[in-house]
Symmetry: C2
Subunit: 336 residues, 2 copies
């Protein structure tokens, strides 16, 4: 009540009100056990009465750290939500807040530019979430005093990186087909510029070649169901096509719809596997087997890596988070 209209309440104001020194107020906040209980109560009462809140800037200036981790979003998409969720939870748990900036739509941001902007903000370390290639990826050097972790499937010469193991996920899916008697696997890709799509394609190709199979020409999609449908129409005309790996669930669904429209059954005539395991949210009784990545885990790992590296920003590591094959009934066992 009767709060004064002074702009901001400082420790000094509290000190005066409580009849103690400024330093004692500081102690009540940072090392309460070192101050007598009666004094502590007086100070607390004064803080309450004046509505005191510690000044972040002054505190950080003195301490030389912020307790914040910077997050740069180069691209904001569905899959990222869970990742940010993981980052945020892990940060919370370790007592950090997040400072976020985002690439503007249309703008072309480099890593150097992002780092420059971030280093003007209150951050002790930073995470770049990179889903597409940037021009200066290989030449980029992080500020020496700011631990930098990049979420990307590519290895970086000097920065720590964290990624889903997308190649391995694609390999798992292919072997799942091959181990069930399929002789070949067709592939429907996502957008060309997407690193995820590129990695999934790479894993698919490698898995086939490892078994001495010549990978067929991949079909180009754009992540959406309609492009999957178009690919499905093409595949329906290929008599040797018994297995299709689509780079995400939406396109996998498009493929399945096209096959059905052409009178083919999934999985009796053609088997299908997707990525991301999210079709069940939209399709009742979904049968699609899918490779799921643990995006939350990815975020957690990235944050932990930053925090672990705060003391030694120049350390470097590479973390891969494996995916999981969620089995449903869209794949037929041809050996049966």
């Amino acid at each position: 009540m009767a709060t004064m209209d002074k702009k901001n309440v400082s420790m000094n104001d509290v000190a005066v009100a409580a009849g103690v020194s400024l330093k004692t107020v500081s102690r009540v906040i940072n090392e309460p056990d070192s101050v007598r209980e009666s004094t502590r109560d007086r100070v607390h009462a004064a803080m309450e009465a004046l509505g005191f809140r510690a000044n972040f800037a002054a505190r950080s200036l003195k301490l030389g750290r912020y307790g914040c981790i910077g997050v740069v979003l180069f691209h904001l998409s569905g899959g990222n939500v869970d990742m940010i969720d993981g980052i945020a939870d892990a940060a919370e748990e370790r007592g950090f807040a997040l400072t976020m900036i985002k690439k503007r739509a249309g703008e072309k941001m480099t890593l150097a530019e992002a780092a420059r902007r971030m280093s003007q903000l209150p951050v002790d370390g930073m995470i770049f979430n990179l889903r597409q290639m940037v021009d200066d990826f290989d030449t980029f050097e992080a500020p020496k005093d700011l631990k930098t972790v990049i979420i990307t499937p590519m290895e970086h010469p000097t920065c720590s990186t964290v990624s889903d193991d997308q190649e391995d996920g694609a390999r798992m899916a292919c072997e799942y087909f091959l181990n069930r008697g399929h002789k070949n696997v067709y592939f429907v890709s996502g957008k060309k510029e997407s690193l995820s799509s590129q990695c999934r394609m790479k894993g698919w190709r490698a898995a086939l070649e490892a078994r001495g199979i010549e990978p067929p020409e991949p079909l180009q999609g754009d992540w959406n169901a309609d492009s999957g449908y178009a690919a499905g129409l093409v595949l329906a005309a290929k008599p040797d096509c018994t297995a299709v790996l689509a780079a995400n669930d939406c396109m996998a669904n498009g493929v399945m719809m096209a096959l059905r429209d052409k009178g083919l059954s999934v999985p009796d005539d053609v088997s299908v596997i997707g990525f991301d395991d999210e079709l069940y949210k939209t399709i009742p009784n979904s049968i699609l087997t899918s490779v799921k990545f643990r995006h939350r885990e990815l975020g957690i790992r990235a944050l932990n890596e930053v925090v672990a590296g705060l003391e030694a920003p120049s350390s470097r590591s590479r973390t891969l988070v494996s995916g999981v094959l969620v089995e449903r009934s869209s794949v037929k066992d041809l050996r049966a």
Copy 2:
């Protein structure tokens, strides 16, 4: 090259290296025109050589502001991504960064608790993204010196609020049905605790009652397709059911699948409208008419409201962002 290992480079270091006073360095940064070009170049060279970066804490301390807006996420879900995107873009445009904290999974966070945590961080104002009810909603009072905007469909006694106009969206959908000769509209809700679901239901009910129609018992869903499918099975058995409004597209899809499995055609036998307009991403050739909310716009408005209120934190406003009916072919015109 030959960078010194001194912890951090300060303006003073730059000043010494350039042979000028500290204040001149400050001027080069903040009011470059007031310093002679030759001097400016010397200073810039020194900054470059030493790798100087302005200290955020010191600067904020002196200026008394941070240039950051706090964002509290009480719940992180798909729809939020676009909203965050809008907030981030608008912030960027106005020269603000975002400081983010998140409610921990399982934890029960109140507005007061969130405000307390935020006010310890570098923020000039804050946005609460609230999709469910919290205990202290009505009693909460924002810090007097920190502009606070709440994204929520409910009105708040003291804080500015921003929201999609969900009720109006539901009303639009209902009138779309009724204007085409439908005599009644069934409703499939989302999760009970969701404010969005509650608002959509409220709008549906109001729209029917406004025409003197007794709203039928709503069917309870949980946002996912399977619950929509279950609702669809129930509705398929009702001969008077010609129009169904589902609280999101996934459930609408479930409803449609169930109707088809029961031999009913959409839209010939039953018309359907959903919310969020996202089915086309997953279903090829989607026919679902849907009410779409402009989440990006919502985020932009929220951020602008905060920035506009920075000087007068106690001001209060209420912003509603209208939705749009995206017309496809899932509704039959019975008057034809």
